[in-house]
């Protein structure tokens, strides 16, 4: 009885002073979002849902490729992988015994890296010797390693959606657990935040090289998009590929990654979102027990000052490959929460969908494209608007481009019709309601808006778009969708040259 009273007092105190628990009413929907901030700066969002027996548990760090400089691109993504390698307590039977072995591997890896850089080669016999030595030390270390213990703990507890992802400005560690197993998330994630150990670093770096080959080197669309993005942003670090440039990945060291971790992976740069069968007061109390004593970063995360300069003219990029031909028109737009972004959402609506202006014109009428659409992409700083079209094989890309330019001009000249506005409003409402269906999707949306400014914006965002007056739209188009300052990407079918044909033929010895 007395214990219950103490518990209630503690919960009351937490709720009063460390949390801002606001039941939110987004027009027709009651979404009980409980927001709180721990003393060490860790933000917590809890959304109870009593109809389910699971909880989506997600820990977001506000770091990604946007915070990486030349030579360091891909470090956040590398750490996404390394977080599964364990801590001082998990994934090991004897951490102190591992320490000198990891140091020995670091030394050998440095020698290997120097050799490869000097020889501009990755496969000669000296490199092979270093690799064997690294493998031998790693074998010794593996006597103490408990393989993939974190993954195993989660999986054996009925975890679903167990994974992690990295984006430009956010990295997430995600799992959905039965409601009685949520404490496992607190334990593992607080330990990963406090005590990460970068074991098996060199082999995981090889894994990432394989991922890079799969996503970019051997996938024409991936290859195209990576290069187009780095041409579109000439200064802003959004130009960095999230996975990192190949040469940067090869040059990763444990020391580099440790520096990155200490700077960004701290409670004051993180957010926990729990959605599902959970009591918000108990959750806040438990999170404080597990995470509350983890210190803030001694220095605040470095502010990225680089901004994209206004484009000086049109940029055009053409690549020939074995891929369905396409054209992308990219426009620079302001960072969140500039009011223009809501107007550009309306423009996205005008252009997109099967009854949208671009589909009607270029797929239905002109028969030049197989699909087409537009997307408004708000970002923390320099956002972008994209019009994309998948071309029919015999379509003239110049004609497609000319028609898209015409449609942009029309949108800049006259406001959308009442029917278009109604379609867009319904679409936004439907997207908002549908987004609440999934526990995991709702977690990501709340985190994304909290990253941009505040989770509360998620609830007002649809209303802000619906409030745009048709007459305001042409000016936004005129100002930001300026064809004279756009970046155009063209992915075109490989010309049927003799060399191209040769590449597709069987080599003589295998025919």
């Amino acid at each position: 009885m007395a214990e219950n009273f103490v518990m209630k007092a503690v919960i009351f105190a937490l709720a009063s002073f460390f949390s801002l628990s606001l039941p939110v009413f987004a027009s027709e929907i009651k979404l009980p979002v409980h927001y709180s901030v721990l003393k060490n700066g860790l933000r917590v969002i809890v959304v109870p849902d009593t109809d389910v027996a699971v909880v989506s548990c997600r820990l977001y760090y506000f770091v990604g490729s946007m915070f990486e400089s030349a030579g360091h691109t891909g470090l956040s993504h590398m750490y996404e992988h390394m977080m599964f390698k364990g801590t001082k307590k998990l994934g090991t039977s004897n951490y102190p015994a591992e320490v000198p072995l990891m140091a020995a591997i670091d030394s050998l890896d440095r020698l290997l890296s120097l050799h490869e850089q000097s020889m501009d080669s990755v496969g000669d016999s000296i490199a092979g010797k270093y690799r064997k030595q690294i493998a031998a030390v790693l074998d010794k270390q593996r006597e103490y390693i408990k393989k993939d213990e974190i993954w195993e703990f989660y999986q054996n507890s009925g975890a679903t959606n167990l994974n992690a992802w990295t984006a430009d400005d956010m990295t997430a560690y995600i799992v959905t657990l039965p409601k009685n197993k949520v404490e496992l998330f607190y334990w593992i994630e607080s330990d990963r935040m406090r005590n990460p150990v970068l074991r098996e670093f060199t082999s995981e770096r090889d894994v990432i090289m394989e991922e890079r080959r799969m996503r970019y080197d051997n996938r024409p669309l991936g290859r195209y998009w990576e290069r187009l993005n780095s041409l579109f942003y000439i200064a802003d670090p959004y130009r960095n590929p999230t996975i990192g440039w190949e040469s940067d990945i090869r040059a990763f060291t444990r020391a580099k990654l440790e520096q990155h971790i200490h700077r960004y992976y701290t409670p004051d740069n993180a957010l926990i979102v729990l959605v599902g069968a959970i009591d918000s007061c108990q959750a806040e109390k438990d999170i404080d027990r597990y995470f509350g004593a983890i210190p803030r970063s001694p220095v605040p995360p470095e502010e990225i000052v680089t901004r994209e300069p206004a484009p000086a003219g049109e940029t055009r990029f053409t690549i020939y490959d074995d891929a369905a031909p396409r054209i992308d028109l990219l426009f620079h737009t302001p960072g969140y929460p500039d009011e223009t972004l809501y107007k550009l959402d309306v423009v996205e609506g005008i252009f997109s969908g099967r009854s949208g202006r671009l589909y009607r014109r270029l797929v239905d009428k002109e028969r030049l494209c197989t699909n087409i659409g537009a997307s408004n992409n708000p970002r923390l700083r320099d956002s972008y608007f994209q019009i994309w079209a998948e071309l029919k094989g015999d379509a003239d890309p110049a004609k497609v481009e000319r028609i898209i330019r015409e449609e942009i001009s029309k949108a800049a000249a006259a406001p959308p019709t009442a029917a278009e506005m109604r379609r867009i409003t319904n679409g936004i409402r439907m997207a908002f309601v549908s987004g609440l269906k999934s526990l995991e999707g709702l977690s990501d949306q709340l985190a994304w808006f909290e990253r941009l400014r505040s989770w509360k914006d998620m609830l007002t965002y649809p209303d802000r778009i619906a409030a745009v007056k048709p007459g305001e739209v042409p000016a936004a188009v005129k100002q930001f969708l300026d064809p004279g300052r756009m970046t155009i990407g063209l992915l075109l079918q490989q010309a049927d040259t003799a060399a191209a044909k040769q590449g597709k033929r069987l080599p003589p010895d295998t025919r």
């Binding site: 105190a13 027996a53 699971v54 393989k147 039965p178 334990w187 549908s434 269906k437 597709k504 069987l506």
Partner: protein, 494 residues
């Protein structure tokens, strides 16, 4: 309004006291409830959850429709899945692609009341997410829409399902889009591997047939309309709906939506056996990685060995990083980003049990050798008791995630009935898994995953394969007879 200074001061004092009390309460809480030293020491409460039943939602309507209906007022939304017994396996020889094309045209080809453009506009205007898709053994209509538009959505749905126009101009447009898709289906290595493996394992059967430029060109409006008449009938459908509506009124709507004249279950899928034609099929693609899938024919479900094979598969390569293949080939050796195994669950024809990975060209033989050694070890020794118990616990404890919402319940049970499973299937599932022994798992591996029977499909640069074909006891030469082709030749394989 002027604030009284004394009141303000009192408020600040009270605030400070409460903050200090809260801080000390938190600190005391941390002391009073010390954290477990290790995750294995956490005392979890027993999960209070039982598998929800589908039967309370199940109705048989007077028009012959079998439906699962659940009210869910949490969101102003309605969700639908309708399963029609048909699929791409039913495509007549020479008209491959017909079922998929018909599915698309049901949405894009207009209806008796609305021409195609008006239908598009209506669906967009009311933000109705309608979709019709075709898989090998299932033709599925799905929808979600705002509950406000229930009347409009049902009216449009009635047109889409039963008054389809198959406008010939739109048919031509969809055929052009299909042809473009066909031209680019081998651009990427993973879909190339999927198709080549299917060709290799089911050679000469309907499961290996592909739409071609010729087969798409042959399809006419009457083909689509004929298929639609056969497949989209009341008796051929199992319907699932959940959302913010009145249940009794919904049953009335469904009585009106579905005509009473539909015939029941007259679709017969062709008999198909997995018969690998080759030991190894290599598709030449000059890229920097080798994409590999090797497997053996499994069985058609239901089958007594399925659960043992499922547990074995989770231990072998279905369980992510901590499965044996993931540990050895990815985590230890760093040779791949993805390696996994799959014991396919297939109710229409025998599936296969396969292992798939990709790796840089020079690592291919080593990765292959390691994967085969993992299989050999599991065959020889079976799983240890702990990994067997963990795999079973994992399969059972995932169940609450399957049944999160009323729509999950109705759609899962409708799907369950579509494949002829018992209404108690999910209730009995935990006990079925618990009953699997380590011995049964070992037997399943020994019985099915016989390396001598593996058929291997590879997509990669054949010159590199020749150069790096042998390492660590594995040689490409072991995979013979072997046939090497270009992507352009895949469609011509039987």
């Amino acid at each position: 309004m002027k604030r009284h200074p004394f009141t303000m001061k009192k408020a600040y004092t009270l605030f400070t006291i409460l903050v200090l009390a809260a801080l000390s309460a938190v600190a005391a809480d941390r002391r009073a409830f010390p954290l477990p030293a290790h995750p294995s020491r956490i005392q979890f409460n027993k999960l209070k959850w039982t598998v929800p039943l589908g039967s309370p939602c199940r109705v048989s309507l007077a028009n012959g429709l079998r439906a699962y209906v659940a009210v869910d007022s949490q969101l102003p939304l309605v969700q639908i899945s309708a399963y029609f017994r048909y699929g791409t396996l039913c495509d007549p020889a020479g008209k491959e692609g017909l079922c998929a094309l018909t599915a698309r045209l049901m949405l894009t080809g207009g209806t008796r009341e609305y021409n195609a453009d008006t239908l598009d506009a209506l669906i967009d205007l009311y933000a109705m997410n309608f979709n019709v898709s075709a898989s090998e053994d299932l033709l599925q209509f799905s929808a979600s829409f705002l509950a406000d538009y229930l009347d409009t959505a049902f009216s449009v749905m009635q047109q889409v399902l039963f008054q389809t126009r198959f406008d010939s101009v739109k048919l031509d447009k969809e055929k052009q889009i299909s042809l473009e898709t066909i031209r680019h289906r081998f651009d990427n290595p993973v879909p190339t591997l999927d198709i080549a493996y299917q060709k290799s394992m089911y050679s000469g059967s309907p499961a290996a047939r592909l739409p071609t430029e010729k087969s798409i060109t042959r399809i006419g409006r009457n083909d689509c309309a004929g298929l639609h008449r056969r497949a989209i009938t009341t008796g051929n459908c199992i319907f699932a709906i959940a959302g913010a509506f009145n249940r009794a009124a919904m049953l009335e709507r469904l009585e009106k939506l579905f005509p009473a004249s539909g015939a029941a279950n007259d679709t017969t899928f062709p008999k198909i056996d997995a018969m690998p034609a080759l030991k190894c099929l290599v598709v030449h693609k000059p890229i920097s990685q080798v994409y590999v899938r090797f497997g053996v024919p499994l069985f058609k479900r239901p089958h007594a060995d399925y659960y043992a094979a499922s547990v074995a598969n989770l231990i072998l390569g279905g369980g992510g990083f901590s499965s044996r293949l993931g540990t050895k080939v990815r985590s230890d050796a760093g040779l791949t980003y993805s390696i996994y195994s799959s014991a396919e669950s297939n109710y229409t024809y025998p599936g296969t049990w396969y292992i798939e990975f990709f790796t840089k060209n020079e690592s291919f033989p080593l990765a292959m050798s390691l994967a085969l050694k993992v299989i050999d070890s599991l065959r020889a020794h079976g799983p240890d008791a702990e990994e067997c118990a963990n795999a079973k616990a994992s399969l059972i404890d995932e169940m609450p995630s399957m049944f999160r919402s009323p729509f999950d319940i109705v759609s899962t049970y409708a799907w369950n009935e579509y494949y002829g499973r018992s209404p108690e299937h999910y209730s009995k599932y935990p006990d079925s898994i618990r009953a699997i022994t380590g011995k049964a798992v070992k037997q399943a591996v020994a019985k099915y995953l016989d390396p001598a029977l593996f058929s291997c499909t590879i997509v990669g640069d054949t010159s590199a394969l020749s150069r790096y074909g042998t390492a660590d006891g594995f040689s490409l030469e072991k995979l013979s007879p072997r046939r090497t082709i270009t992507p352009d030749s895949i469609a011509a394989l039987p």
